[in-house]
């Protein structure tokens, strides 16, 4: 029979090829729900996980199966970037290293840093959970009285107006002694009405050119003349 040597040859060939194939490994993992993602059914069915290697031929893409799992078949040795392509949730990127003897090491990775900057090591059947949900929309802000009231400028204005209206009443309610003291204090205060140059400024007199009795003290007035 001539077919027997052929069978032997092919099996020998297979044995020879074996060391090449054996190191291509399967990488598996799954999406785990967390407080950001309550249920796997919230994920869009079209979402994928991709494993990017040095060339496009080495790269793999897997859908997310109904149980959240994903699988990359026959991954050759090399260093890969694992990314979850999802519109609705943000997932961290991972670095997956496959050594020539088929060992799979999974690390966190920091995009924007050099590739050798690895994060903490993670177990191989990869469990990955979203870090944040996508927020697609801006809610247009309508008129909101509470929001208006919480504005600090508005609060200051309200306190000031309140003070202005309440102060005379408080002064009226004081007992005569303290009231007298308060009024005296006000009189001596720099800002009190008598001493305030702005309040006592005689506009008509100034325009008429006559000197003001309160003016001589201030250098300003004399300069203007």
């Amino acid at each position: 029979m001539t077919s027997i040597p052929i069978v032997r040859l092919t099996s020998l060939l297979l044995l020879l090829l074996c060391p090449v194939f054996i190191h291509a490994v399967n990488i598996v993992g799954s999406i785990k729900p967390n407080n950001v993602l309550q249920s796997l059914t919230l994920l869009p069915p079209s979402m994928t996980v991709s494993l990017s290697g040095a060339s496009l031929a080495d790269s793999r893409t897997s859908h997310i199966y109904s149980n959240g799992a994903f699988k990359f078949q026959d991954v050759k040795p090399g260093s890969y970037l694992l990314e979850v392509n999802c519109r609705t949730h943000l997932f961290p990127s991972l670095r997956v290293d496959v050594s020539t003897d088929g060992l799979v090491e999974v690390y966190g990775t920091f995009r924007g840093n050099e590739w050798d900057n690895k994060g903490e090591r993670k177990p191989h059947p990869i469990d990955i959970s979203p870090v944040k949900g996508s927020d697609f929309y801006i809610i247009r802000e309508g008129f909101n009285p509470m929001k208006l009231l919480s504005n600090p400028m508005i609060l200051i204005a309200i306190v000031a107006i309140g003070g202005m209206t309440l102060m005379p009443k408080m002064v009226e309610n004081m007992d005569p002694e303290t009231r007298a003291e308060f009024e005296k204090q006000q009189q001596t205060s720099v800002l009190s009405s008598q001493n305030n140059p702005l309040q006592s400024f005689d506009m008509a007199g100034y325009l008429a050119g006559s000197s003001n009795k309160a003016q001589p003290k201030s250098g300003n007035g004399s300069k203007r003349k």
């Binding site: 869009p44 496009l56 990314e83 519109r87 050798d116």
Partner: protein, 956 residues
């Protein structure tokens, strides 16, 4: 330090960065200002389109399909709405490939369907469209079969490997190698619990059939029938039949499995095509049609198979017209459905006379390509039919009895070219009338204006009525934006005219959710991307479709009327462009052949003097012969529509570099400000040049890409740069506008992943130096090396591959640009503001107060786009957006964006926010209310204030 290494922090940071300058979608505008035409593409093959129950025990079935764009999914047959979609394969498919031989969709068990494309097999949940498992084989898949009793999916690979995959888990149950890896497997048949695999030996002297045990994979028997010859090829045979079919040029041969019995049917396969249908193991139905549309014929035969003997039972009438057949069995008997443009006829297996005919109320717009039908005979004997018909124009319709229930515009998924047409340009005649008045002398102008005003008086009553309405409208709810279809003050309404592979031209309306406005046939059955030179907007609502064959179609883009069909002689490799007259409305298209020393063409071939004027200052540029670079020519028109081309410059690439793309600034790209004011009030002058071209070349030997910025008038290289460690097999895309370009590629360097690089060009590296920008006669010809622009670059890492880049355009160019990115892995169209892609962002330090004032913020290498906020398509799932086109609206703030490829997505975007239009949030009632409140308050306070003032006067 740990904080730096928290991935969450990166995301939050990225989100914070983008929220500052992104154009997120307002929740009340989403789904109102944007539209999406969800498409599958044209159904590929009738065996991959079927009605199927989505879940076991559920009544009502969905329509499943696999398209020519490799999209699978489910359609609700009631209204034609999409239930779910998934894309097979990793992107674009070459057009010439015979997809129906490598991709198919089959029913499986328990509400599952199985898809195959090349080496990939996937099992999908038929109701939700979620993958159950995926398997990728080492070589191309030859056939798959679901064994329901064993719960297995058996896969035959081309090389003869057979694998059984457990339906539930996707694990391999058994595998075996048939034929020692030398034979080529073709198809499975499952008859009487025996699994037959038909193979052909490499020498092709015998038809080989192997019986495989479904449970263990053991090879039980091998049959070799010496009838299969070198010229024979396998024909797709339904798996339930106990026969396998193959053919040579004039015979269709049916071999009964496990026997030497072969029946030959005489069919001249150079003239006729045929397709085998079966729904039960004892009835074979063969459909025949003519290969050439000129000699349209169609007929079909019923054969019965009994004890392995095939006998012809009846022949359905031969017709000299195109009709397509479908076979169905829905429990009430086997029926054949025959569809042509006018009617649907139902035949049973007993007679050659139809049992029922439904005449369609209107002829179908095109001939049918194939059909899948369900026929039910009710208890009272009445026959009802539901047929999903794929038409030659690429669309799919569903016919119920004699009514067309819905039409899906699936041809749009096969668009090869698209162009915007401005509807306003046609309607806006007032401007021209005013110009005409200006041009004439005072008296005639006055008379003209008065007569025009008198004529316009007739619009007055209508205007008053409308005015009243708009006043009343203030108090009502805000008018929905959809009402803008008829009244379009902001120029949101544009038509997108698309040419499809099926030889039709279709226009869709961006203001009406992408509804088809008109569609016309070019009289070609197939237009591939290489067959079309382009679609050109020719002014005044006219578009020109120019084919490689030299055919020119002039179409009124508003009404869809074909205005003129003409043909000029164009070399297939010629470059076609439009030229506009600087003084009049005239336009020409010109074709510049790639071969040296050949004259070019122009059309229309009149007004040579005008064209001479238009071309006198221009330089035409195109790819050099053999795509080795760019060559520039000056052109001089001569009589007879020919152009004399004189080479003026050429830019040749080194031999190891290949052209990836040539990008030029958009036709409408105004620069509003020639300088950029910095925080210290000094100015950086932009490098303004309308003749910029960015040539990207790649070299596989060095894994590098080379970027050359050229002046297309003088051919001068203004700037060049190199990126090393580039994976040139992945998409390299670019966009150029104003004084900057952005490009994207996949890098294998330390900063691994997709990179996005932005380069801005300024007239000079020093501030307040306009270089020669302000000179009166600024010419491309007198550029010296020392005056080449000053370029600043910054690169960003982007998390996903980008397959298309574009820039927003606005009317005056005042609004900040946004760079638009098509990210197919997310199924989104993203927009990144140019202020984020600003190469002057401070690196490694916080911005100074001056830089902050300018709007700069700290550079972060990772452009972690917050998918949500940067997404123009928000929650929508876009499939296969390959090209993005933009056009300005009448509002400066707004640019209209349409992405096409498979889906069509359209929206309008305001990169600098809507500063010139009131948004939906504007509350007219609140405005009027507050004005009234202030008025009432004034009236109320007036006497009080007056009283107080008088009191004060008296007190003094």
């Amino acid at each position: 330090m740990w904080l730096w290494h928290n991935p969450l922090r990166y995301f939050l940071l990225a989100g914070a960065l983008l929220s500052s300058s992104c154009q997120a979608v307002f929740s009340d505008e989403a789904f109102h200002t944007d539209f999406q035409v969800q498409l599958f593409g044209t159904a590929l093959d009738p065996s991959s389109t079927f009605f199927h129950q989505a879940a076991a025990g559920k009544t009502g079935s969905l329509l499943y399909t696999l398209s020519n764009r490799l999209v699978i999914g489910a359609i609700n047959p009631k209204d034609g709405a999409q239930v779910w979609r998934q894309r097979l394969g990793e992107g674009t498919v070459s057009e010439s490939e015979e997809l129906s031989k490598s991709a198919w969709l089959r029913k499986s068990k328990d509400g599952r369907i199985v898809s195959v494309f090349d080496k990939a097999i996937a099992l999908w949940d038929a109701a939700t469209g979620r993958a159950v498992w995926e398997y990728s084989a080492s070589v191309t898949v030859a056939d798959v079969i679901t064994l329901k009793a064993e719960n297995l999916l058996v896969v035959a690979l081309k090389g003869g490997e057979v694998k059984a995959i457990k339906l539930e888990s996707g694990e391999i149950a058994w595998e075996t190698l048939v034929g020692e890896g030398r034979d080529v497997a073709s198809n499975f048949n499952f008859v009487d619990d025996r699994l037959f695999l038909t193979l052909s030996e490499p020498a092709a002297t015998a038809l080989k059939t192997v019986v495989i045990s479904p449970a263990t994979g053991a090879q039980l028997e091998t049959f070799i029938d010496g009838v299969f010859s070198q010229s024979d090829t396998h024909v797709f045979t339904p798996q339930i039949l106990p026969i396998t079919a193959f053919k040579d040029s004039d015979q269709l041969k049916l071999n009964t499995l496990g026997t030497k019995q072969t029946k030959s049917l005489g069919v001249d396969s150079t003239v006729h095509e045929y397709r085998l249908h079966a729904v039960t193991h004892d009835t074979l139905f063969i459909e025949y049609w003519a290969k050439s549309p000129d000699s349209a014929t169609s007929w079909a035969d019923f054969h019965t198979i009994k004890d392995g003997v095939v006998t012809k039972k009846i022949s359905l009438p031969y017709e000299n017209a195109i009709s397509v057949f479908s076979l169905s069995d829905s429990g009430s008997g086997i029926f054949a459905t025959r569809v042509n443009r006018a009617e649907i006829r139902i035949y049973d297996t007993e007679s050659e006379n139809q049992v029922k005919a439904f005449e369609l109320p209107k002829m179908l717009p095109a001939e049918p390509l194939h059909v899948v039908a369900e026929v039910v005979r009710r208890s009272d004997g009445a026959i009802a039919v539901r047929a999903a018909v794929t038409l030659a124009d690429g669309n799919m319709i569903l016919v119920r009895n004699d009514q067309v229930v819905w039409t899906r515009q699936e041809a749009l998924a096969s668009a090869v070219a698209a162009e915007f047409v401005d509807v306003h340009e046609v309607e806006d005649t007032l401007e021209k009338t005013l110009h005409a008045e200006e041009a004439s002398n005072l008296v005639t102008a006055y008379i003209k204006r008065v007569t025009r005003h008198i004529q316009e008086l007739k619009y007055l009553p209508g205007w008053i009525a409308g005015f009243q309405e708009s006043i009343l409208g203030i108090f009502g709810p805000a008018a929905p934006a959809d009402a803008a279809v008829t009244k379009d003050p902001f120029g949101y309404r544009k038509f997108v005219v698309l040419v499809t592979r099926f030889g039709w031209v279709t226009a869709i309306d961006t203001a009406n959710r992408g509804e088809v406005v008109w569609t016309i046939n070019l009289g070609k059955t197939k237009i591939l991307e290489k067959d079309i030179k382009g679609i050109f907007h020719f002014g005044k609502g006219v578009v020109l479709v120019v084919l490689t064959s030299g055919d020119i179609y002039k179409i009124d883009a508003i009404t869809g009327r074909g205005l003129k069909k003409t043909a000029i002689q164009i070399l297939p490799s010629a470059n076609v462009m439009t030229v506009e007259s600087p003084t009049s409305d005239d336009r020409w298209i010109i074709a510049v052949p790639v071969r040296e020393g050949v004259k070019g063409w122009f059309w229309p071939d009149d007004k040579e003097e005008e064209l001479t004027k238009a071309l006198s200052k221009a330089t035409l540029s195109r790819k050099c012969e053999g795509s080795t670079g760019i060559c520039g020519y000056s052109a001089k028109p001569t009589l007879g529509g020919r152009l004399i081309l004189t080479p003026t410059w050429s830019f040749r690439l080194p031999p190891n570099q290949k052209v990836v793309s040539i990008n030029t600034r958009p036709a409408h790209d105004p620069i509003a400000s020639i300088g950029k004011v910095l925080g210290d009030r000094s100015v950086m002058y932009k490098y303004v040049n309308p003749h910029l071209a960015l040539l990207i070349a790649s070299a596989s030997s060095t894994s590098s890409i080379y970027l050359y910025l050229l002046d297309t008038v003088s051919g001068a290289v203004l700037h060049s740069s190199v990126q090393t460690n580039v994976d040139i097999t992945r998409p390299i895309v670019a966009t150029i506008a104003e004084n900057w370009y952005v490009y994207s590629f996949y890098s294998n360097s330390d900063a691994r992943g997709t990179q996005l690089v932005v380069t801005d060009f300024y007239a000079s590296a020093t501030k307040n130096d306009p270089a020669r920008l302000l000179q009166q006669n600024f010419s491309s010809y007198d550029q010296t090396r020392s005056t080449s622009p000053y370029g600043i670059s910054q690169a960003f890492i982007f998390p996903h591959p980008i397959t298309s880049l574009a820039t927003t355009t606005t009317r005056q160019g005042i609004t900040t640009r946004a760079v638009l990115l098509s990210v197919p892995k997310l199924g989104s169209l993203l927009a990144i503001n140019k202020r984020t892609l600003e190469p002057r962002r401070p690196v490694g330090r916080e911005p100074t107060a001056e830089e902050k004032e300018e709007g700069l913020f700290k550079y972060e290498p990772y452009l972690g786009v917050d998918h949500g906020r940067a997404s123009l398509s928000h929650i929508r799932d876009l499939v296969g957006i390959e090209k993005i086109i933009t056009t300005p609206s009448l509002l400066e703030s707004t640019s209209i964006v349409v992405g096409w490829g498979i889906d069509i997505f359209g929206t309008r975007t305001n990169p600098s926010e809507a500063f010139d239009v009131l948004g939906r949030g504007f509350n007219k009632l609140a405005l009027i209310g507050s004005v009234l409140a202030v008025g009432v308050g004034t009236l109320f306070l007036r006497p009080m204030v007056r009283k107080k003032q008088i009191g004060q006067r008296w007190a003094q």
